[in-house]
Subunit: 356 residues, 4 copies
């Protein structure tokens, strides 16, 4: 099959670089355009970007001329990935959607929009039906799909098997988040080396809201009725490079679930993506460890190319029903990799189609 | 006043070294004996100990000959501090108490004993009345007093003002604990650098039990009726040198307490030690910060020579009533420094008295 | 004695904050003015500064209104400390000197100026005679004194006893430098956690030049004839908070010096400041350890309030004569603390005098 | 081709685990036996080993029963890799060689033996001719080949192009070494977090001797005449997980070599392994960066699966001729991976042959 022509918006930033790395050898997608702010536009990519990925700039990208983030400048693309800052993403993404170019974005601007899917393919793939209710593009070709905050991905993926089997009443989560979540230059070393910072601005609000939409019910009008789960979140920054670790307490809707039953639902849970052959989909989206010292960010965030969520120490908990630890790679599964998987699902469902 | 003659049991270990450092210039206590295992006994202290404190071995200690941990070998001491491992502390501490030598210990062995105080002076000073019910020494001179696990100190100190004012129904705590809590050599660098380990053996059980005794009610028979607070604890190891940070959720017994009321009880709370002039007592045992990024282990664990507990981000929390972050210096306030403060209270109350 | 009235230029920056901390309880100096860029001027200090020191803003400073860095705005001060960035320090410091206000600066702008002392009080105190040759102020009251780059301080202090005793032919130094040397926000955590960066822009040039002036000879015309020592420097950034560690090789002018002789010159070396009673002078400016694992930044940079240079592993070295490790606290001894000590020497020598 | 049957001695230790990981999918070698101390022998491998690699134990190894390190217990193997501690490696490796089993070892015991190659395939492949002079096995089948200390590999590989082109007079190296070099549990986190330790026992002696043999000349009698290069080494431990970084100064035998000439010899240097198709050989054994901030341990130690040595900041240096930074992955290229490459060369040269 011919690969889709893809543009990356915000290509010089930390998320944009991750898109470029993840797509360097992608079987379905080929980057034909990199776009960024006017400050970078017109320069060669390898001169415009302060490259921070631990591999060289892919040679086919290095010499590309950075374009403006304007749909008229990317006439050939089938769709775009957006790694733009929220400060500018709102208007630019809308323009692309209006111009008939699908936008698969990691930015937060449209996550709460009534007809925009907030999508984790293994959790709420049916929400892609929201797209047909979007009105950005009168021709029905352009649309916007978002992926959630980087903590929400391991949270909802690790809750999903329990939610399916028993229903969930309430959740308490304390996150221990890696510095890469703050981008580059991001967290100063003087703030975080040998230290923990008990506050990440704006983070807890997202962790307490986005899972409600992700675990909500699609309505006939294309909106989502949010879940009524109660969530409390406390977000901490820890001196870890990659991988957000979550300490989770959960109260189930069903009473008297045993530890053995809870373990069983994890070990037997089947992803709704099974059989779709999406290139970036992990074989096992949620892996449960019995070893009590697992998962650990440095050891397990890279599992399945950073796309697997891991969990462990599943145990009965006083006050609540169960306690466990969950882990997700924040800049892959929780950001660019999640968006790539979203796009793969949209291609498999023929919602993203070749331009001609 | 003449200083009390003090022995340190387990003097070569990490906690023992901290006792030696803290007592190097203590106005009330003078170390006259250092004791350790047979492997060290008979050697000069500075040759027997693998010294890890960031100051030199105090000169008056360096040349002391290490003695066996046997009451007959420490005939001159008024009382002893114990920094021994739990593996050996039980029997040795009992022998000292039986021999008429008060034991102020950091070891966990007697914390659950019916008539042994588990003591944090600002929290349950009345529990020292348990001592008179101890039967180790028929002459009534020898006894044992313990201090709690290093997480429990910042937990109960930060709960105490709320408990006094409103009563506490239940508590959820996720701890992010420093590597120094595991002693020396302790945590291998390969395990913890750039990482978080979601399990600390035996820790959560202590955090879920010890506060119940600490916040319990002294009975006429010298026992303590444990508090009925519900507690859930999850313990994590983080790459921090000193300072255990706690993410705490609390449900009060009283309904409808406002954030302003909660802040007020912290800011106006008066320590029961006020006026006692104990040398190691912090001026302000619990300091509350308004700055949301505070407290942080590297910045604030050293407050008031490591004896102050700090807290911040006190806020209303869904599911519970309030959330906050608390911090305590684990090897000072949570270990040797806590024991020293216990001894100071016992001296002030004339329960530890000069031998002659 | 009345304390000198002191202004701090660049008071909101990292070095400025260190000045404020070090002077909070200084017996000779009292900060009466804090000055910074126009962006901060007019605000309360505690609102203008992003405070990063691990103690609160001293209360007597917190409420001060930040002034412009203009001599007319600081009419009452006896002299100023400058912690300004090099980008602006040159012109502003000159204006203060011209206005008759002595400037004791940590900035690098005037270090190579013919009549400006580059001063480490224990190394080249006689260089203060250069001041009388300065022509900034026709009334002879205003002048500029600089302290060297933060690596140069432990380098020249650790070389000084050898230089005095045997003369030095050449030096090779590889520095392992703390992140605090880059200021705040400074080094991004993503760059340095679990990593080493083999380049610090502009650093090696300073390390290869400044010691030549520091160890040079004062001439009758007030200039310094630079030392002819050969120096090669390689500068690395390591994940350490405070303390620059140096791996040093030295070839002496004198042949056949034994290891015992070399050790002896360190242990018997007497500081030229001995007897002057300068408040910030370390009792022992250079401490030599025999323990081969010492010195270490985390353990020993804080020695003597950060003002002592430590060294160890002094040993014969093939190709050269001796190898050793040296350590200095980069933001205290190597920056603000060094400047404070310079000012103390100038007061003791009555070169800084009360304004009236 | 049938894969060689391989045993791993010391299979449960840190180096043994690395062998198991590297050989898990090796095209030429198949592990058929894992052997360790009597404490582990008889147990399943996954129960005997405290596994620390960031991938699971390969399933074909997990269930193997650990054998004693005795040649009679490994009758089927074609050769063995040894990751044993030096304390026991000497006698056991000799027994295997005497029993006709080639030993490719990472232990240091035989590195200085007259007829035992100390081998880095790209540096001194001709030294394998020493093997025919070994007398361990009268049948001429068993022998021992060693690889050097983990610092020596990036040192000699980075020196080799210069040595070939210009000859080398003398070398000064300061190493900044990762904690993984000390094995597991290895360096306590309390010693190294936010710190540098200026001493690694026994390390500098190896760095100053082993390159002399590696760069020495093979003699007709099967011995090696050591190089007469002068080397001084200073070894430091830094808080890095993987990757030893070296600050190197080099004086060439040839005068007046320009920086451009030196760069050119690196960029045009051809490995003697080119064309041999060894599975573990890096495409480019020594990669030179122009970016002054490179190489960095966290970014570049993993290059080419940890088998590539990187270097940068090649520049003229006063006192010497050139300065540069070099980096090698210490537990792969500098340990188990180096041994695997040694074995691959021995197979390619038909010195290791199938048993039957």
């Amino acid at each position: 099959m011919n690969r889709f022509k893809v543009g990356v918006l915000g290509a010089t930033g930390a998320v944009g670089q991750k898109f470029i790395r993840l797509l360097a050898e992608h079987p379905w997608f080929e980057i034909t355009a990199v776009a960024a702010s006017s400050r970078s536009a017109g320069k060669r990519y390898d001169e415009a970007a302060h490259w921070i990925e631990p591999i060289p700039v892919p040679p086919q990208i290095a010499g590309m001329v950075v374009r403006e983030c304007d749909p008229a400048e990317l006439p050939e693309v089938d769709f775009v990935f957006s790694g733009m800052d929220a400060a500018v993403a709102g208007e630019i993404e809308r323009k692309f959607a209006e111009a008939g170019i699908p936008v698969v974005t990691n930015a937060r601007n449209y996550r709460r929009e009534a007809h925009v899917p907030l999508l984790v393919p293994e959790v709420n793939p049916d929400h892609i039906a929201q797209i047909q209710h979007q009105t950005f593009d009168p021709n029905g070709r352009g649309f916007i799909v978002t992926n959630p905050n980087c903590v929400c991905v391991p949270l909802v993926l690790s809750l999903k098997p329990l939610a399916d089997a028993f229903g969930i009443d309430s959740v308490v989560v304390t996150s221990m988040q890696a510095v890469s979540g703050a981008g580059y230059p991001g967290v100063p070393s003087l703030d975080i080396m040998g230290n923990v910072v008990p506050y990440i601005g704006g983070e807890e609000e997202k962790i307490m809201w986005e899972p409600l939409k992700l675990l909500g019910d699609l309505q006939a009008d294309g909106t989502v009725r949010n879940s009524s789960i109660g969530i409390h979140a406390s977000a901490y920054r820890v001196p870890v490079i990659e991988g957000h670790l979550l300490s989770v307490l959960v109260k189930l809707a069903k009473a008297d679930v045993t530890e053995a039953q809870a373990r069983e639902v994890y070990d037997s849970w089947v992803s709704p993506l099974a059989g779709l052959q999406l290139p970036s989909a992990p074989v096992k989206p949620v892996l449960r460890y019995d070893e009590p010292r697992y998962p650990q960010p440095r050891l397990h965030a890279p599992n399945e190319n950073g796309m697997q969520v891991t969990m462990g120490r599943l145990r009965k908990a006083g006050l609540f029903d169960f306690a466990y630890t969950a882990l997700g790679h924040n800049t892959i599964r929780g950001a660019a990799g999640g968006a790539v998987l979203n796009a793969e699902l949209l291609v498999a469902k023929e919602i993203i189609r070749p331009r001609n």
